[in-house]
């Protein structure tokens, strides 16, 4: 019963609000109207998002790791002695045997080279975030542009871009990355660019194009064309802004795949980087501690962190999916 009354009364309230709003908005300058509408949309979307407990859990995990990333330089500067706690060149002189089990001084123990595991874990968080977000931005920029251009122009441009996308999604993604990084020197930035290009011209581009096709036939695109808007003006001012929600959603999934790929590659020791979660496991492996449950602190924290951060971004992506894609909503 309660549900029903809610459904009936809700629209009425909104209609009244909208009339009042419209009057107020008319008196404001344009930029304030835009700002206000954006703010209102963010607030509405946050309300939808916060209903989703699973999405909130993901956001919580992301914030937890973000705090870890920020805390590391602070701890290094004021609390931890750089000679002992440096994630790369530190050595813990106070332990007799390396790797040392967790203790009060080293909460997660030390690795076979005498370095503090917690410090390594926190130091790597920063680069994982940087890699994930950089790869996601490249992916989405390319994907959105490719999708919008292919949908808007159609014809030969569409055919070429989509055949290229078909070719890319047929490639085994992880295998290609492994082959590339085995044969070339790769660092985090190059890896982010490669992941961004592969997934932006590939799967993400296809999904965004199918959405762009539905936007292309809307009336306001016709209106923009009639009033003399150039092709690029229409693409960047009318089509791409409307693709933004979907692009943002795919950013989350790209972060997951980027962090995962980096972890796999550095697990195999194929990346040219100083420290990362995958590399921590690789270090344990090369030192011969991989198959030994007794030295769990060498592998479990790093492996768990990769898993948790990947699934956190994925969970947030799924929650956003329910906002962007109304067919999946509960009501």
């Amino acid at each position: 019963m309660e549900e029903k009354t809610k459904v009936i009364t809700k629209p009425k309230v909104e209609v009244i609000l909208e009339e009042e709003e419209r009057k107020r908005l008319k008196e404001m300058p344009l930029w304030r109207v835009r700002l206000y509408l954006t703010w209102r949309e963010i607030r509405n979307n946050w309300r939808l998002f916060s209903e989703n407990k699973i999405g909130l859990l993901g956001l919580g995990i992301i914030i937890f790791y973000a705090i870890m990333a920020i805390a590391h330089p602070i701890l290094m500067k004021w609390v931890w002695d750089p000679n002992i706690y440096d994630p790369i060149v530190g050595y813990s002189y106070d332990e007799v045997l390396q790797p040392a089990p967790p203790s009060f001084r080293h909460i997660l123990g030390t690795d076979p080279l005498g370095r503090d595991v917690l410090s390594q874990l926190m130091y790597s968080t920063r680069s994982e975030f940087a890699l994930g977000i950089l790869a996601a931005i490249i992916t989405v920029t390319i994907g959105t542009t490719v999708g919008a251009v292919a949908a808007y122009f159609g014809g030969i441009i569409d055919t070429l871009l989509m055949r290229l996308a078909d070719l890319i999604i047929m490639l085994p993604f992880v295998t290609i990355l492994i082959v590339l990084s085995a044969l070339f020197k790769m660092n985090l930035i190059i890896l982010a660019i490669v992941i961004g290009i592969l997934s932006g011209f590939g799967g993400t581009g296809i999904v965004i194009k199918s959405q762009a096709l539905t936007i292309k036939v809307r009336a306001y695109i016709e209106a923009a064309k009639v009033s003399g808007g150039s092709n690029w003006h229409i693409i960047f001012r009318h089509i791409i802004p409307n693709l933004m929600p979907l692009s943002f959603l795919y950013m989350m999934f790209s972060v997951t795949s980027a962090i995962f790929s980096e972890a796999v590659l550095s697990f195999f020791g194929l990346l040219n980087i100083r420290m990362s979660w995958g590399l921590m496991i690789h270090t344990a492996q090369t030192a011969g501690y991989l198959l030994n449950p007794k030295t769990w602190w060498l592998i479990v924290p790093a492996g768990l962190s990769i898993t948790l951060l990947c699934s956190a971004f994925y969970l947030v992506g799924r929650a956003l999916d329910e906002i962007v894609n109304p067919r999946l909503r509960k009501r």
Binding site: I54, M170, T307, S311
Partner: protein, 383 residues
């Protein structure tokens, strides 16, 4: 339909050609060559390295090597592996591929069955605590760091519980006096699994339209006959204990892979189910007063199955992708491990061979997926 298939086959050949050309030049663009890996080996003189280069044809100009490679590829010859010298790439693939196929096919089929049933229930029980637990568990498994998860499985099941072997695919002591090699057994396991599932499928298809009691009886009898046939083949053959040894080594990797892959299937089924549940025919089925289980299994799940099946076929085509990671962790000497070793050792012909294998498989997978889709959904017709 036939015209469509032929056109797609033509496209596949072109795509494969473009893909191989791209990969070939990419691999050639890497610094150094195979002979360089011996640079630090003091036993090899400069002359010997030059001789090695000439032997592998690495002293020829790039375009000549490319044309030669493509020419011999047309004849089905993938060249000779540098690392496994003097074996040809084709023979290495023929040796390793059955192992990968057996491992991944088993895991994929299991995860499909599990994931589809779990996804059905998940969509049906929307909003219950059960859904949250299964979704979070599913997403965690779906995005789990595969090497780490494999290690955890080895720790738990092989080290602490001592249930399964740690890695590798055979027990060397058992195989010392074996009359046949491992691949002989592998291929027979694969063949009998294929024949058995084909027979099972035919039995299910033949009894589809019968009434309930008769159907159950016939299906039970069919399963029994298939099992009896398998036993009749394997028991007198004398290699059963070797086959069992392989299967014993197979359990842990299959379990790991199934757990990882089933989550993806489950989440996909759930989304597809939720979309199908809004269709009018579901409401009609409810209005008719059909039992809940019938609506779920016969009306919603059947229609929601399409994207899941497509993704299942795709995932078979991508066995090598997951294979590199899983096979490394379980030291399962299949295609993935071979490809990784070849890439690290700059064994270009082997890397190319692995990519030809996986590329062909992926392209054929796409074609099969499209055709299955058209077969299962009468609304889609290709002309």
């Amino acid at each position: 339909m036939l015209r469509y298939v032929l056109r797609r086959l033509g496209q596949i050949v072109i795509t494969l050609f473009v893909f191989l050309t791209l990969v070939y030049f990419l691999l050639e663009a890497q610094p150094g060559d195979y002979a360089q890996t011996f640079l630090s080996n003091p036993k090899l003189t400069k002359e010997q390295r030059e001789a090695l280069k000439a032997q592998f044809g690495l002293d020829r100009p790039l375009w000549e090597r490319y044309l030669r490679y493509m020419g011999s590829l047309l004849k089905g010859n993938l060249g000779i592996s540098f690392e496994h010298y003097p074996r040809s790439v084709v023979s290495v693939i023929a040796e390793r591929a059955p192992r990968t196929i057996l491992l991944f096919l088993t895991a994929q089929i299991l995860s499909f069955l599990l994931g589809f049933s779990a996804g059905k229930v998940l969509a049906w029980r929307r909003g219950q605590a059960f859904e949250y637990v299964l979704t979070i568990g599913g997403v965690t498994l779906y995005t789990v760091f595969t090497p780490w998860f494999g290690l955890m499985m080895i720790w738990i099941f092989a080290y602490i519980l001592h249930l399964f072997p740690v890695g590798k695919f055979v027990t060397p002591t058992l195989w010392r006096g074996a009359p046949v090699d491992a691949n002989y057994v592998f291929i027979r396991i694969l063949l009998s699994a294929f024949v058995a599932s084909l027979a099972l499928f035919l039995v299910l298809l033949a009894t589809r339209r019968l009434n309930l009691a008769l159907r159950r009886g016939l299906r039970g009898a069919g399963v029994l006959i298939i099992l009896a046939g398998l036993l009749a083949y394997w028991l007198p053959s004398g290699i059963t204990r070797y086959a069992l040894d392989i299967l014993y080594h197979l359990i842990l990797p299959v379990m790991t892979l199934t757990l990882i892959n089933f989550a993806g299937m489950m989440l996909l089924t759930r989304n597809s189910m939720l979309e199908t549940m809004r269709e009018d025919f579901v409401m009609a089925a409810r209005a008719k007063g059909l039992p809940d289980g019938v609506i779920r299994d016969k009306h919603v799940a059947r229609n929601a199955m399409l994207p899941v099946i497509t993704s299942f076929i795709f995932s078979i085509a991508f066995v090598l992708d997951g294979g590199v990671i899983t096979e490394t962790v379980f030291s399962w000497p299949g295609m993935g491990l071979t490809l990784l070793e070849a890439a690290v050792a700059q064994d270009i012909p082997m890397v190319m061979g692995g990519l030809v294998f996986t590329g062909t498989l992926a392209l054929l997978g796409h074609l099969v997926a499209d055709m299955t889709y058209a077969y299962l959904d009468p609304r889609i017709r290709y002309t």
